[in-house]
Subunit: 156 residues, 2 copies
């Protein structure tokens, strides 16, 4: 599991960068990805998705400050951030979450089944992992503004 995890990290980071580039034309540079072992993070809008197979179960939560979420969705829809509705934001972040998990799963040989994403909105909510021994928190910088991805995988 430890070896697997190291390759997971790289692939999650690559998937996130690739989806943002492809869907929103936004680039996260290699030097703008930071990894820590924190198990919680605050955000304004968060997409949560589960991944599992016979041996391993996990989750990915991608959490954005409202401004960063709006920038991404505005770019996806080719409109101005001011025009983004609550519904646009929720759908856009749900789609990004789905695609990041799907792209990550592709990169590791589609070993997981994905769940449907849920989206949480609310100024400064806290996202935490449950009962977790090996949390990983990615901090990505997008045009100098941070957003976060919190993930964990556990053998059954």
């Amino acid at each position: 599991m430890e070896e697997l995890k190291k390759s997971f990290l790289e692939h999650i980071a690559e998937a996130t960068k690739s989806v943002l580039s492809m869907m929103a034309g936004l680039d996260v540079k290699k030097d703008d990805v930071f990894i820590s072992n924190e198990d919680k993070v605050r955000g304004d809008i968060t997409g949560v998705i589960g991944l599992s197979n016979d041996k391993v179960k996990g989750s990915i939560a991608i959490s954005f400050p409202e401004e960063v979420g709006k920038t991404i969705v505005a770019n996806m829809l080719s409109i101005s951030p001011d025009e983004i509705t609550e519904e646009d934001l929720k759908d856009g972040i749900g789609e990004i979450t789905n695609m990041v998990a799907g792209d990550f799963n592709n990169r590791i040989g589609n070993i997981f089944k994905l769940s449907l994403p849920s989206v949480i909105t609310g100024k400064g909510h806290l996202v935490s992992l449950f009962n977790n021994s090996a949390p990983v928190l990615f901090k990505f910088l997008l045009e100098d503004k941070p957003f976060y991805l919190l993930s964990t995988f556990e053998e059954k």
Copy 2:
């Protein structure tokens, strides 16, 4: 899928009632379960878990007002609601979420793989489903106070 869904609903309600009774000694009565097709709900603390297999993917989010969440976790731990820490609350709701999904899965023959739950805290956050055609919102009354379970399943 429609037939399957109807039996899902019943089993989700039963699993929720059973886990609360077993873990916290709290009873939701049969007449205190309401089902609608809303696709979002507000809460103060929410546990989210994914379920999937080769054909179907879904999610379950259980969302509580702070007071109800604290009552449940206080009963689980046999302490007073005033003594509950943020960490207790988060862990307790994560465990309830995990057990409701697990008990539901048991009742339908363990057809799904479960993901790890995530827990979101933040006064009045909004939980929504992504891109969903068939949302189901359960409203449960626990000692006359409501809490909610938002779920959906979709064929791949």
